[in-house]
């Protein structure tokens, strides 16, 4: 049986465009608001990544840190994250949802219990930022058994031997980190170079869906549209921060950003 994630990439491919993936932090800035944002942007986003906020995020830049701290301050708990995802999937059955976060949250919740809860909430995939290959091998197998896509990350520093191994053990989707940076950094590598690296990964196994993330904004997204998918996170979190500051409707503003992003790649 093919996964919903795979199906979604196939659909985008049939329309000769990359899939658009968004990242928002669960509970930013409230539980209700973040669900509203998720539902509203999914009109344009193909896959929604939902971050479970952690207060010591070692790989996130300022924008996502701000969103995460805001969500935690507003009392978001891990069960709320599942509740948001579950609620979202009830109304948007065909939009894959990917949970993204740090391993300590999973460790404290207990791996097996966490995965059961994921399955129960109809989570399609998982990204764990600080749980690299090969340490994540067992966990990744556990995910597969529950029908959850474990998404491996690769970066410009990943060696070619390592890359081969990671691809071999990966599921349907691979996340390529565009450059040496935390999330939300300014794109400091040329899109040509990024795509060159991207195809080194893609050409090893064409059946894998490879997405590019980090540094993607309204300005840069178009130049990378040859990829299977593109992830935008910090630019969205930034818009939420801006809307709150200006006392504007974050749902409308964020949806507009996502719509514009989508228009640039179709």
């Amino acid at each position: 049986m093919t996964s919903l994630i795979n199906e979604t990439f196939k659909k985008a491919k049939n329309m000769s465009r990359p899939a658009l993936l968004t990242y928002t932090v669960a509970g930013d800035n409230t539980k209700k608001k973040s669900l509203e944002i998720l539902k509203s942007i999914s009109a344009y986003a193909d896959i929604c990544e939902l971050g479970f906020p952690h207060n010591t995020p070692i790989a996130d830049g300022g924008q996502i840190q701000t969103s995460a701290y805001r969500a935690i301050k507003n009392g978001i708990k891990i069960n709320d994250v599942f509740a948001i995802a579950k609620e979202f999937k009830i109304s948007k059955k065909t939009t894959p949802i990917i949970l993204m976060g740090y391993y300590n949250m999973i460790y404290q919740y207990d791996e097996n219990r966490f995965l059961k809860k994921c399955k129960n909430s109809k989570i399609d995939g998982l990204i764990v930022v600080d749980f690299p290959y090969p340490e994540n091998k067992n966990f990744s197998k556990k995910c597969k058994r529950q029908g959850i896509n474990f998404i491996q990350l690769v970066s410009p520093t990943t060696s070619s031997i390592r890359l081969k191994r990671i691809i071999k053990d990966s599921h349907d989707m691979i996340y390529y980190i565009s450059m040496l940076s935390t999330t939300g950094g300014k794109l400091k590598v040329s899109p040509r170079k990024i795509l060159e690296n991207y195809f080194k990964i893609k050409n090893q196994n064409k059946s894998k869906n490879v997405v590019i993330g980090f540094g993607i904004t309204e300005k840069t997204i178009k130049s990378l549209k040859k990829a299977d998918g593109l992830v935008v996170g910090s630019a969205i979190c930034k818009e939420i921060s801006k809307s709150i500051k200006k006392r504007q409707n974050a749902v409308t503003n964020v949806t507009n950003v996502v719509r514009r992003l989508k228009n640039k790649i179709i």
Partner: protein, 409 residues
Amino acid sequence: MKIKKGISLIDQHDQFGFWGGKFGGSFIPETLKKPVEDLTKEFKKLRKDKKFIKKRDYYFKSYIGSPTSFIKLENLTNHLGGAQIWAKVVSEANGGAHKIYNATVHALLCKAMGKKYIVGDTGAGYAGKMLSMAAKKFGLKCKIFMGAKDIKRQKPNCDAMKKNGAEIVPVYSGSQTLVDAVSECMRYWVSNCDNTHMCVGSTVGPNIFVKICGWSTAQISRELKAQLKSEFKRIPKKIKLINCVGGGSSAYGFWSEFIDFDKKQIELIGVEAGGPKKSKLHAAPLSRNAKIGILHGAASYVCQDNEGQINETESISAGLDYPGVSPIHCFLKDTKRARYTYATDEEALNAHVMVTKFENLNPSLEPSHAFAEAIKIAPKLNKDTIIIVNSCGDAQKDRDILKERLGKI
């Protein structure tokens, strides 16, 4: 879980970097896998390289000033009237604390790997000050990440860093202390790992950093072992080695040569920061039964909530004000080789007052925690027991806090 004899504790981990199967590891973003692997290979090679060891020993001696002295605190011993109290005065090391060992080794590694930039975190400011010194000495460009709260309370060390030409990057996120400084430093390394070397300031962080730091500070116990033999003709029958524990780098360095001894002969006592007497906050994950969690790339006992969010900590001592602790100390705790306890802010201050009153020694607030425990247990022990406290930092940096709390300069 068992400690093996005859093998350095820093090497007693499994293939994934775990001590006792569950402490340590390398929980790092993919981008850091390569630089961590490179560093691991380089360190593995260099620690067996005779030339490198010679170089290390040369700088330890001529630059750091090894060995630091080992002295009896006669007046304090007489005052307390129990066990003999001795101190290993590591604060005599160049710069005023044990952090210089790790900083020097990291600067040498950075040079060996052909990197020109070095970054590090700091709490009390000692790790930062020493890294800035070592960077200056070896011609490296240096950036130090430090919590905004710590910058305020440890000004003398910040002045030193600036004087050495290092850039201090203030960290305003979270509690604005060491935990946030380490996070920000790791973020910086993620973004610049192609030309920059990172020095983690204690025996914490991904496996390799625990090893390098432990390997560096182990010099303290090598010296002590020789000093014990020359002072007592042989290793005495009853010793208690008391050390403060924040990340745990000085404690590991103080103990490493003595881990194979029976604990009835040499007891290892770690003293964590209990925080203000009336506060619920502390920085004592080992002695106040925190759960295992993942912080800054390693699994250890961590002050955290049920969900895995890292708790704020509170301590008068910036160097101990950290929610996690070295995986090596977790291993020593679970194997029961070391015993861990805590001292409150007030107890540490009182200890500082007592030590400075009786002795010509000026321990910073970090080792004052260790002295608090020594003062507590010494009267109950007989004079054949040798208590040795690692006086691993000088209180010069604490002058503002001491002035505020004690009204003295």
